[in-house]
Symmetry: C2
Subunit: 330 residues, 2 copies
DNA sequence: CGCCTTTGATACTCTGAAGGTATGAATGAC
DNA sequence: GTCATTCATACCTTCAGAGTATCAAAGGCG
């Protein structure tokens, strides 16, 4: 078997995601026939059928599903290789820290201060992204280290160290009937929607595209072992592509920035989950934050590519854990 | 920046490893001029100088070193994607278990038995390889799960669970002066060589190509965090490409299979380190096994690609840890 | 100091793989 | 049965990648 080219993987991922050759070709900026041929050639090379296609429907085979997962990972690794090389070539190397603005447990200033004190020669710069993007940002080489909510991130390929755990709070309009409650549970939220259009009673994390075998629940233990866990106790914590302001490509009436989201919450159009520390930063008269008693808490962590070997990353991780440990004592 | 092609990465890795365009071209089965052009084009795409070249010498820049590391990882990910897709397309899917024959702490039969009892529908098959190859075998998709010595493996991209710890024993000829000792230390071994031609007083693990920043020592803590550790206490445990029967491409008088190695040990030509459990399996009148008092012990672990999501892998890991735990009680 | 070997770069040619256009054929909706 | 949709096929075109021949610079050496 000759080695695959990234072009072939990109083509396949496009088709596998669109499940439609025409749309995939359009997305790739090419005509449909050469795309069909390329996929056929890929299947011939691998000796495996990846897509079951009729003129009306395209479906992934088991091989195709496997390849979709692994091709995404491989493509990330390739772009990461390029980007890291570019970054290493810059005159004044920097430590790129990925995070979603305000999702830092209030620790960011102290972490940056502590990190700067370590004099690594790599000043820190922030790479701000939307909620849930941080893991990908680390995997494809746009950042060196990140702060993210472990439960919302697909941590594959990353190592991480938890910093703190805090509950999600539900933000609702002050004139919502729920606002009089001292706490709510998910079942109380029937019908209310989140910024991404999903139903609020599913919790803050979208489980779609989680990449896990349907019907299986996996969770990571402290020692790094993935075990199948039967129960649903932690099922909310396995999402991958987070919500909270992210708007999917398909999102119809999705809001993406915080001011917009707060406005819609005040109007009663949507509700939204926020980590508790973030809510302290946005006290607003017309919004009430409520504890949700059957929602697992959020774990803020510092994360980095598993194959990282930079001293600056290690220094940042040390700084982050030290600050978190100090904060936990207060 | 357009995405890189794996062809470009393969070309670069070849040149970076050979540090000579002509030899690299030969290895790639192509002429030298197009290779030179391809590398130049790669540098242009990235906007970075990867190689400092005169007509007499080729050297890696900092960017080039970074790219060499990451390109290897990315290429492994690409081939893994292809192989896993092929594997998923097979009629009767199997669990491919990578190991070096006899390096299993004596647990393999019981692990296989325990695994078979779990009825995953994926019968186990063994993928035998040379010592130290298991990690790569897992990364590039030739196997789904493996048994390996953690200290000898480059565990990047893998998750693992330790099974047991046992000392390395030194195998020497019965008529060697050392054979009368009850135990030895590394300093006693001056001048003796190992199967790969390296000096025995360096311990069983080759530190070359370890990929870590020179002058830094890294070790993995229980929680998955890589920390810089100043001391040399565990320095022997960071090797990547193991020895013990592997013969490097450069190896001149290297021996590769066990019978051959034992013969050379009997003749006094070489000495060799083996995990204790393996020596029990090869009692030979003309070979003496000695404890080495300043050598860190070997940790046998079960390992799997970090992004694995297979129930069969999880079942195997459960089986392995259960058997190891039971064995530890005896 | 000058010759020679080694080795990467340049100039040019050529081939084939990747992409485009036109069209066919199958499938499901109505 | 008709029609729209969508994937496959046939055929053509182009340029990127590979080859050959050659140049030029850098060390080694007498």
């Amino acid at each position: 078997m000759n080695d695959l080219e990234t072009r072939q993987l990109r083509y396949f991922v496009a088709v596998a995601e669109e499940l439609n050759f025409g749309r995939a070709a359009e997305r790739l900026g090419m005509a449909q026939p050469p795309l069909s041929r390329a996929i056929r050639e890929l299947e011939r090379q691998l000796g495996v059928v990846l897509l079951e296609r009729t003129t009306r429907r395209v479906e992934l085979t088991a091989s195709g599903q496997t390849l979709l997962r692994d091709a995404r990972i491989a493509l990330d690794a390739v772009t990461a290789a390029g980007r890291r090389a570019q970054h290493a070539g810059e005159a004044r190397p920097q430590l790129r820290v990925a995070l979603k603005a305000d999702v830092d447990g209030g620790l960011l200033p102290r972490i940056l201060e502590e990190y700067a004190a370590q004099e690594t020669g790599h000043p820190a710069t922030l790479v701000l992204g939307r909620y849930g993007e941080q893991a990908t940002t680390l995997r494809d080489g746009r950042a060196d280290v990140g702060l993210l909510l472990l439960d919302a991130a697909d941590a594959r390929g990353l190592d991480s160290e938890p910093l703190l755990t805090e509950p999600f709070l539900l933000a609702v309009a002050a004139d919502d009937p729920l606002a009089t409650y001292s706490e709510v549970c998910l079942a109380d939220l029937g019908g209310r929607t989140m910024p991404d259009g999903k139903l609020a009673d599913q919790g803050p994390l979208s489980g779609e595209e989680c990449g896990f075998v349907p019907g299986e629940r996996w969770q990571r233990t402290a020692s790094g072992y993935w075990s199948a866990a039967g129960g649903l106790g932690t099922s909310g914590a396995m999402g991958v592509s987070g919500t909270l302001g992210s708007l999917g490509a398909s999102g119809a009436s999705a809001a993406s920035d915080l001011p917009e989201i707060f406005r819609l919450i005040e109007l009663g159009t949507i509700v939204c989950y926020f980590p508790a520390s973030l809510t302290h930063r946005y006290p607003r008269p017309d919004i009430v934050y409520l504890p949700v008693n059957d929602l697992p808490p959020a774990t803020l962590a510092v994360a980095w590519p598993q194959d990282s070997h930079s001293t600056a990353v290690a220094a940042f991780v040390r700084a982050a854990t030290a600050v978190a440990a100090a904060a936990a004592l207060v």
